[in-house]
Structure formats: structure tokens, C-alpha cells
């Protein structure tokens, strides 16, 4: 079974601080996606990375796919209260299935 370990599980920081969330696996994925979910709603796709070493930026969010395509990170600069939510990573397999991390619950305090 392919596992995708996501850390930390919970993170509470002050507005303006930086943070990094990690997803790690011993398996290679064809793609790695990050989603953000708010309470009572479905996850919303933030980004997809497909190439080893790829870096994508979405305003204050920076996503990186590991060179070996086994891990990924999400870095948020100068976190804002609006960044609060559950962040989920998902690794893509060739048969269109996704392997999901357990999620990082992020709280940004004003």
C-alpha cells in the first residue's frame, strides 16, 4: 500500500509568520496535488506538480515537488487568517487514483 505521510497534523501560528507543511512517501507518484478545505465544504485544488524538482508559486504559497517525485512541501509566507483551513496533499497514480495524506489543520491567529 502506498502511503503519503503529511506533517504536521496541526499547526497554530500568529499572523505574519511563515510555515511549511510536508508530504512524504517511499513511493514515486506521477503527480502531487495540494488542496485546501474549509469546514463543511469539499476540498478545493490549489496546485498540481508533475515534474521532479518543480516549484510553483501561488501568491504567498510556494509548492515544491521533490526531485525523486516522492515528497512535496507547501510553504506559506506571512500567513494570514484567511489561510486557515485543512490542507491536504494527494499523490497521483497512473490508474487515476489518488493517495491522500491525513491533512494538516492550520490555524492563523490574528
Amino acid at each position: 500500500t502506498q502511503l503519503l505521510e503529511q506533517s504536521p497534523q496541526f499547526l497554530s501560528i500568529q499572523e505574519g509568520e511563515n510555515l511549511t507543511v510536508y508530504c512524504n512517501s517511499s513511493s514515486v507518484f506521477s503527480s502531487l496535488q495540494w488542496y485546501r478545505q474549509e469546514p463543511g465544504e469539499g476540498p478545493v485544488l490549489l496546485v498540481t506538480v508533475v515534474t521532479g524538482g518543480e516549484v510553483k508559486k501561488l501568491k504567498r504559497l510556494t509548492f515544491q515537488f521533490g526531485d525523486a517525485r516522492k515528497d512535496s512541501s507547501l510553504h506559506i509566507t506571512a500567513a494570514q487568517p484567511g489561510d486557515t483551513g485543512l490542507y491536504l496533499c494527494a499523490g497521483g497514480r497512473s490508474n487515476y487514483q489518488l493517495i491522500w495524506g491525513a491533512g494538516t489543520k492550520l490555524i492563523i491567529k490574528p
Partner: protein, 110 residues
């Protein structure tokens, strides 16, 4: 553009009663369809996925079943609900890589 509709948003059902959750997708054809269950603030557990009409794969043996009577319709059912079936159920579709989610159904079995 593609949209996904899932209903109802909330549902309270007595133990032993049947269940039917419906999900429909618009704006795409032959999507891969998924049913997930999510514990509070945690990751997603894949319940069923379907790559075509009448084709259902079950990931976790349980009290639930799924059907795909039409290309863009996916139904989650149970003949007799258990207390342990309570949770947040999410329908999703994908083309090749990314998943797009419905709003979710909060099911409470009492």
C-alpha cells in the same frame, strides 16, 4: 465549465433506515467518479470509485454500496444504516489527474 452537484447537504437518519446520496456532474463526459468519507478535520477515505457506467470498485468492505446508472451520476446507498456510518461524505470527479469535489453531505445516524 464542469460542475458537480451533491445532495443533500445534511441528513439525519435513524439506525436501520436506508440511505441514498446522489451526485451528478455537468460539463464533462466519461468522468472518473469517487465517493469518499472524511472524519472531522482529517484526511479522505476512499469508499468507491467508478471509471464508467456500471463499473464500481470498492476500496473498503462495509455497509455501503455504490452505483453508476448513468455516465454522470453516482449514487451511494445503504440498506440499513449503522451508527458508525455517520460522517462527512464527499463525491468527486476527475478527468486525468486532479479531483474536483462536491459540497459534501453531513450524515448523522441517530
Amino acid at each position: 465549465s464542469q460542475t458537480i452537484h451533491q445532495w443533500p447537504a445534511t441528513l439525519v437518519q435513524p439506525v436501520g433506515s436506508p440511505l441514498s446520496l446522489e451526485c451528478t456532474v455537468e460539463g464533462t463526459s466519461n468522468p472518473n467518479l469517487y465517493w469518499y468519507r472524511q472524519a472531522a478535520g482529517r484526511g479522505l477515505q476512499l469508499l468507491f470509485y467508478s471509471v464508467g457506467i456500471g463499473q464500481i470498485s470498492s476500496e473498503v468492505p462495509q455497509n455501503l454500496s455504490a452505483s453508476r446508472p448513468q455516465d454522470r451520476q453516482f449514487i451511494l446507498s445503504s440498506k440499513k444504516l449503522l451508527l458508525s456510518d455517520s460522517g462527512f461524505y464527499l463525491c468527486a470527479w476527475s478527468g486525468q489527474v486532479e479531483a474536483f469535489f462536491g459540497q459534501g453531505t453531513r450524515l448523522t445516524v441517530v
